[in-house]
């Protein structure tokens, strides 16, 4: 089971328990016990909360499945690419401002900084001193610019050779 499915199961279980509790409270009330209105309301609210959580968990499951599908597609593409270019890496750069992206093959020994320069040339966007490189997950790669693509992968600094070119921001 995926994490998402386990989460849905867990929340469904809570929902089930809450419904059982409500049933017991109503049964008790039917027997003429002191009216436990507060307990009914609490149980109903718990059901509502559990139902909302199920909805959220189903959404997460949907996203997790989409992520898995993409990962499988990426893996297939990477295998095919490695077969065709055994000594080269396929890198992808996206400029988050212009929304333009480029990908190209380059030797595994290419330094990240050099790959970025080549990407800027292909994007026809000059590199500014304030620009930075990050992974799509947001990891700043400024300290790693002198590493080769092989280093980045072997040291698990990146999970894929996909990079975003970002500009500076102000705030805080």
């Amino acid at each position: 089971l995926t994490f998402g499915q386990r989460y849905v199961d867990m929340v469904c279980g809570c929902n089930f328990a809450a419904r059982g509790e409500l049933h017991m409270v109503r049964k008790e009330e039917g027997r003429g016990a002191e009216s436990p209105r507060g307990e009914i309301e609490m149980a109903e609210s718990e059901i509502q909360r559990a139902e909302a959580e199920i909805k959220a968990a189903e959404g997460e499951l949907h996203h997790a499945e989409a992520d898995l599908k993409h990962a499988e597609e990426d893996l297939d593409r990477a295998k095919e690419d490695e077969h065709r270019h055994p000594h080269e890496a396929l890198v992808e750069f996206e400029d988050v401002n212009s929304l333009e992206s480029v990908d190209f093959h380059t030797p595994w020994q290419t330094k990240l900084n050099a790959a970025w320069t080549e990407a800027a040339r292909l994007l026809e966007e000059p590199r500014r001193t304030t620009d930075r490189l990050q992974t799509p997950e947001g990891k700043d790669l400024t300290p790693d610019l002198d590493l080769t693509l092989r280093d980045l992968e072997e040291r698990k600094i990146v999970t894929a050779l996909k990079f975003q070119i970002v500009g500076p921001t102000g705030g805080a």
Binding site: H70, G138, P168, G170
Partner: protein
């Protein structure tokens, strides 16, 4: 034209058109489902984000971007309760990440009584609260897109900056 020193002006028609155009370019050959985003209406984008704690555990957040001042102004940017898709002061504070110490971005659950502010020059609220900013860091609507806003926020949702959920 620079927006430096000006007050934000809403333009729904322009925002709708620019959002549609930029979203199409951002997605490329992918669909909204492919990237896990949702577009509940023509001016709103919902973006699920995961924040990573130092020990590796992840917390889920939902970012809501609104484009009614876009692209002259950056998108309105709020973390929302994923169950209500809204942000209520105090009770929804836990749906806002806590990441102190970053020099460029800060998350405020209630900034000087003005509500939630993602304090970054790539968000609309930053200008609505009249936050100070260097001229060359001001949003440039003719060059920047909402993807830059998302990318900037992601930078802070990682160690050592991200420490957990906010509290009221």
């Amino acid at each position: 034209m620079s927006i430096f020193g000006q007050a934000p002006v809403q333009n729904v028609a322009q925002g709708r058109q620019a959002f549609a155009d930029h979203l199409k370019r951002a997605l490329g050959n992918r669909t909204l489902d492919d990237v896990g985003w949702a577009k509940p209406d023509d001016l709103t984008l919902l973006v699920p984000l995961f924040a990573t704690r130092s020990e590796g555990n992840k917390d889920a957040y939902l970012l809501r971007l609104c484009f009614d001042h876009y692209p002259v102004w950056p998108p309105s940017t709020q973390f929302v309760n994923p169950l209500t898709l809204d942000y209520r002061l105090t009770e929804d504070a836990r749906w806002v990440p806590q990441a102190p110490g970053h020099q460029e971005i800060a998350f405020h659950t209630n900034y000087n009584g003005s509500g939630q502010v993602v304090c970054c020059s790539l968000t609309l609220e930053f200008y609505k609260v009249n936050h100070s900013v260097e001229k060359d860091l001001v949003w440039q609507g003719d060059k920047q897109t909402f993807v830059a806003t998302i990318a900037a926020i992601k930078r802070v949702l990682l160690p050592p900056y991200y420490v957990g959920r906010s509290s009221a």
